[in-house]
């Protein structure tokens, strides 16, 4: 029941915000924010009462939908999906608050779309039926098209077209794969599907996830989408929606196709390694703030895929931890980029600079987020990367060496970003009128940063409370090919 509430509370909230003729935008926005906060409270309550010691599904609900096809409304939470739902509600709350504070046009419609997006994303993480998973997956895309296409920057049209083409192609392949898998298994219930040896069905799923993550070279939509979206939508896209793709690998590709995964490991690892280095190099040369964050996001998502395809305890735990950390990091970075662009009217790194002087809050928050993003040892991002690379090391030391190179590159592009914004003399677009972060902005971004610091202090909060607890069942035993 609680899982259903987690999914439909924001959707109902969205409807409410859309339908009621609000007297002011402020009232509509405030209501949306209250809904997001209520969702957050539901999740915190759920997380505190979750039984982390035992593996398996919790809070599950199942109602037959098309019984002759074996389709049902079936939802529930694994411990690792609980964490991803947590990421979704935290980042969405921040995004709604930020959008509310920024005063977007048609506030009610806008924030309603974000709430709807939240519900659909939570649905993806909770669905236990393949067709339902697909329905939520598509439901997640539609608000995004509108959010980018209507509220985006000057280049929003091209950005939206690219995004639509890529994701539609991906999701249609997935739909085919869903149908094929369901028909061949005789059921769409994920608990009963069991393992499958079909390369084609695996590739259908992999295509959708690869586009959404994105895995190199399926990232053509990413730079424009991340540049043209409003900052809070970019935060959701890179922070949360991309994780739906890696979650798809974790929940569908790995457990249902273990034998195919083993065959396809090397090609996928090659793509992901290329993507890791490629993204890092482009981030190092990107001319603008969002470009750096976008390409670093590309690199990080490929790193997470590397961890997943290690398919061992270390790689999977690391990938999950990195999904959470990167979700928070990139959300915070995009919101900060929004704050900077608001002040300087540009994200061009050549025109920025010198913002640290007299703006201690902005400088402190940006530096803290930035050094976590570059995975300084001791941070939760470091913990995640360490586990990922340690996991892939056992599959071949070469992968880990590529990852180690990326560690150095990450330092290069993140420090470049920090310096270009904060240090040296003020850039041409930086005037004294550019204020420090306002309390409202701080109240949105600080909780994200505080969560990151807490996770850095205790990354085992995630790794120790996922994959069915320890040491009874080790992580990777869930993903081994049946003998």
């Amino acid at each position: 029941m609680l899982t259903t509430i987690l999914i439909f509370l924001p959707m109902a909230g969205a409807l409410f915000v859309w339908i009621v003729p609000w007297p002011t935008a402020r009232a509509a926005g405030g209501t949306a924010l209250l809904v997001a906060l209520a969702e957050l409270v539901v999740w915190v309550n759920r997380a505190l009462n979750f039984d982390y010691g035992t593996p398996g599904l919790q809070e599950s609900t199942s109602h037959s939908w098309f019984s002759d096809l074996g389709v049902s409304y079936s939802v529930g939470l694994f411990d690792f999906s609980l964490w991803l739902v947590g990421l979704t509600v935290v980042v969405t709350t921040a995004a709604v608050a930020y959008g509310f504070w920024s005063g977007r046009e048609r506030m009610g419609v806008y924030l309603g779309l974000i709430l709807f997006l939240e519900g659909a994303t939570v649905g993806v993480f909770c669905a236990q039926d393949l067709l339902l998973f697909y329905v939520f997956w598509e439901a997640m895309m539609i608000p995004l098209y509108v959010l980018i296409g209507v509220w985006g920057g000057p280049g929003r049209f091209d950005a939206t077209i690219k995004f639509v083409i890529y994701t539609l192609a991906g999701s249609l392949l997935m739909l085919v794969a869903v149908i094929a898998l369901g028909l061949s298994a005789g059921t769409f219930d994920m608990a009963q599907i069991g393992q499958n040896g079909s390369t084609w069905i695996f590739l259908g799923f992999a295509a959708a996830f690869a586009v959404k993550a994105p895995l190199w070279p399926f990232h053509g939509w990413l730079p424009d989408a991340y540049r043209e979206s409003p900052p809070e939508v970019a935060a959701l896209l890179s922070g949360v929606i991309s994780k739906a793709a890696t979650f798809g690998f974790l929940r569908i590709a790995l457990p249902f196709f273990p034998a195919v995964v083993a065959d396809w490991r090397t090609p996928i690892l090659v793509l992901a390694s290329v993507g890791l280095v490629y993204g890092s190099l482009l981030a190092f040369r990107a001319p603008d703030l969002r470009g750096v964050i976008a390409y670093s996001s590309l690199a990080q998502m490929n790193l997470i895929v590397i961890g997943l395809f290690a398919v061992n305890d270390s790689g999977l735990s690391g990938a999950l931890l990195q999904m959470i950390t990167h979700g928070l990091v990139s959300a915070a970075l995009f919101l900060l980029a929004g704050a900077v662009e608001r002040r300087a009217a540009t994200g061009d790194l050549g025109l920025l600079g010198g913002l640290a002087r007299g703006r201690p809050a902005l400088a402190t928050v940006l530096i803290t987020t930035g050094v976590i993003a570059l995975a300084v040892p001791g941070s939760s991002a470091f913990a995640g990367e360490f586990l990922i690379l340690n996991g892939i090391f056992t599959r071949g030391w070469g992968w880990a060496v590529v990852g180690a190179v990326a560690i150095v590159l990450a330092a290069m592009y993140m420090l470049r970003l920090i310096s270009a914004v904060l240090h040296r003399d003020p850039g041409p677009s930086v005037t004294d009128a550019a204020l420090d972060l306002r309390p409202a902005e701080l109240s949105v971004i600080l909780p994200l940063v505080a969560t990151l610091l807490t996770l850095s202090f205790w990354p085992a909060a995630v790794t120790d409370h996922s994959f069915g607890g320890k040491p009874t069942g080790t992580v990777s035993s869930n993903f081994e090919a049946a003998p």
């Binding site: 077209i161 270390s314 530096i367 560690i407 420090l415 992580v475």
Partner: protein
């Protein structure tokens, strides 16, 4: 005892949080006092832990304590774990003791800076990170501390972030150290693969890898990569001189007394792993020997007061690397301690000079300051004598302990001894060159014009920590006296058994020869710089290529730019221009504009494109579905 160690660790962290949260609600000097006070608490706790260990028999002196599980994955667990043993307590005492003195000095030094509170918070953050590094009970937590000292070093190097050079120097330091972090991490992956653990008690065992095997070599090499980067040894040394862009107390604390010696600590801590790979163990000593000479030579031509001392730091850490590379762990750490005293002293004295001259650092504009700054002059002389290893100052005992060990370590030992002996000559020369140029002779016009003293040299707040360090630079060496006692070796014996030093005639020869060479260096410095002389200018004219090579620091920076930075930068730019733009962005960009044109023609509804695409794709879907079902 472990409780005291935990308090020592978290006290500076608490200060960071307090200063950050308090913001402008507390005065600047209160922020400084908070930071220094928290480190004083750490020092007191370290003394308590030390006393606790002292009360136990030597083989019982090792206590591990875990507060919570920091990271886990399946059966792999890493605790937030500290280890209290003779080595970690030794380092805690040095870090928190010298750290406290420098933080107290910084309250005076930074007085009036616009962003003083941020400075003190960073400084406390550094001490926390450094204590984490030396107290960590497993290699992963050690790596965490390792990275965080690098981070605080970065933050403090570019503390004056409006200076272009400071920003560049900070980045350079961080990225070079990130390289070391990466090789360190790779070594850990190998160890985890072998042992499933990073706990010192599991990993630092003689049987963990086969002696001399490829794995043993790679593990040691990875750790050495980290150590060399952090300790600014050849070939990863070029960041340290640039790091002098930070405020002087930063140079004293991080880039002389503590952080840069972390590599020495790491090798001593993981000496078991180095002993399993003798080739890499020797390599550590060889790199140290090379650094002694290289840095000593470059120091001869530097004109920035802090850079001279920075090169001297590299050179002195070279001695420590020689020591730990040859297995003389006690001697290496003894030199680490005395060096912390006299090098911090030299930096802080230099800081008083820089302050008095309105932030001037170029020694060519200084001169004759001995009479104007008598206190600074005296403590600088003490520091210089200690650095040049003249008895009875501290450096004499620790350096001769290292050379004595080298003299007993076979052919390689003698080669490194030779490097150390020549290094002793160079040390005498560059140290007293600096001393004579800055403090002797007549005051330059610049010095006369700009010298201003508010009160006593730097004020009492800055003077008393300097005085304490001056005393320590004399008596600190008496812990280990040739033909007498060796307290440091004995104390560290349960953790790392030191190699035997030479005895009898060999040792006497070693001591006398290096002492004579030091004195010769000082004498030459006096001939060239102690009085009016055109010898340096003539030498420069005679060997212009030599002067150029030294001034370009053996062209390391230029070579790295050419070999790494430029190609990486060019590749990244080329990728963007020739791959990303045309392949991924351009082609689809064209597609998008095509769609826009088509949709304008076909329909007056602006948003028609989505529907059309959906329709087209849905038709394709039907075909695909049939194909999939047929194939599978």
């Amino acid at each position: 005892m472990t409780t005291a160690a935990w308090i020592a660790l978290f006290s500076p962290a608490a200060a960071v949080i307090a200063i950050a949260l308090a913001g402008t609600r507390i005065t600047r000097s209160l922020a400084g006092l908070l930071a220094a006070g928290s480190v004083l608490v750490s020092f007191i706790c370290s003394v308590i832990a030390f006393a606790g260990l002292l009360g136990e028999s030597p083989d019982e002196r090792s206590h591990s304590s875990t507060l919570w599980t920091w990271l886990s994955a399946g059966n792999f667990n890493v605790g937030a774990q500290i280890l209290v043993d003779p080595l970690s307590v030794f380092m805690m005492l040095v870090v928190s003791g010298v750290g406290f003195l420098i933080l107290a000095y910084a309250v005076g030094y930074m007085d009036g800076d616009a962003e003083e509170r941020r400075y003190h918070a960073y400084k406390a953050l550094f001490v926390f990170s450094m204590l984490l590094l030396v107290q960590a009970g497993n290699l992963l937590l050690l790596l965490a501390g390792w990275g965080m000292v690098g981070l605080s070093s970065y933050l403090l190097i570019n503390f004056w972030h409006f200076r272009e050079t400071a920003v560049a120097a900070g980045k350079k330091a961080f990225i070079m150290n990130a390289f070391g972090d990466a090789t360190f991490a790779l070594a850990l992956f190998l160890l985890i693969q072998r042992t499933g653990s990073v706990d010192f008690r599991d990993v630092l065992q003689p049987g963990v890898v086969e002696k001399g095997s490829a794995v043993a070599v790679l593990v040691a090499l990875g750790l050495l990569g980290g150590a060399v980067a952090k300790s600014a040894q050849v070939p990863l040394h070029t960041w340290l001189p640039d790091a002098m862009e930070g405020p002087t107390p930063v140079s004293a604390l991080i880039h002389a007394a503590t952080m840069v010696t972390a590599g020495v600590y790491l090798i001593a801590r993981t000496h078991v792993l180095f002993e399993l790979a003798p080739a890499i163990h020797d390599l550590a000593g060889i790199l140290g020997g090379i650094t002694i000479l290289l840095a000593g030579l470059i120091a001869l031509v530097q004109t920035d007061i802090k850079r001279v001392i920075a090169y001297s730091t590299m050179s002195q850490i070279g001695y420590m690397f020689v020591a730990v590379g040859l297995g003389a762990y006690g001697s290496g750490l003894f030199h680490l301690m005395t060096h912390a005293f006299f090098k911090a002293l030299l930096f802080m004295a230099a800081g008083i000079v820089i302050h008095a001259l309105s932030d001037e650092q170029d020694i060519r504009r200084m001169g004759g300051l001995g009479r104007k700054l008598p206190f600074t002059y005296r403590v600088f002389v003490i520091g210089a004598l200690a650095l040049a290893a003249i008895p009875p100052f501290a450096g004499f005992f620790s350096k001769d302990s290292i050379l004595g060990a080298a003299a007993n370590a076979g052919t390689l030992g003698w080669i490194l001894w030779g490097a150390g002996a020549i290094g002793a000559f160079l040390t005498g020369l560059y140290t007293f060159r600096l001393l004579f140029i800055v403090f002797w002779g007549e005051p330059t016009p610049f010095a006369r014009e700009h010298l201003h003293l508010k009160s006593f040299e730097g004020g009492l707040a800055m003077a008393w920590p300097v005085a304490v360090l001056a005393v320590l630079s004399i008596v600190g060496g008496w812990l280990q006296v040739p033909w007498g006692w060796s307290l440091v070796d004995d104390w560290l014996e349960p953790v790392a058994q030191s190699a035997e030093e030479a005895t009898g005639l060999t040792f006497t020869f070693s001591v006398l020869a290096s002492l004579l060479l030091s004195l010769a260096g000082i004498a030459l410095a006096w001939r060239w710089y102690g009085r009016a002389s055109d010898a340096p200018a003539r030498a420069r004219q005679r060997w212009p290529w030599a002067a150029r090579t030294l001034e370009h620091k053996f062209y390391f920076d230029e070579a790295y730019d050419l070999a790494f930075y430029e190609p990486a930068s060019r590749k990244a730019a080329a990728l963007g221009r020739y791959v990303e733009q045309p392949v991924f962005l351009g082609s689809l960009g064209g597609l998008a504009s095509g769609v826009r044109l088509a949709s304008r023609r076909l329909s007056s509804v602006q948003t028609g494109y989505v529907r059309e695409y959906a329709l087209a794709l849905a038709a394709g879907l039907a075909v695909l579905a049939i194909v999939f079902i047929l194939v599978t």
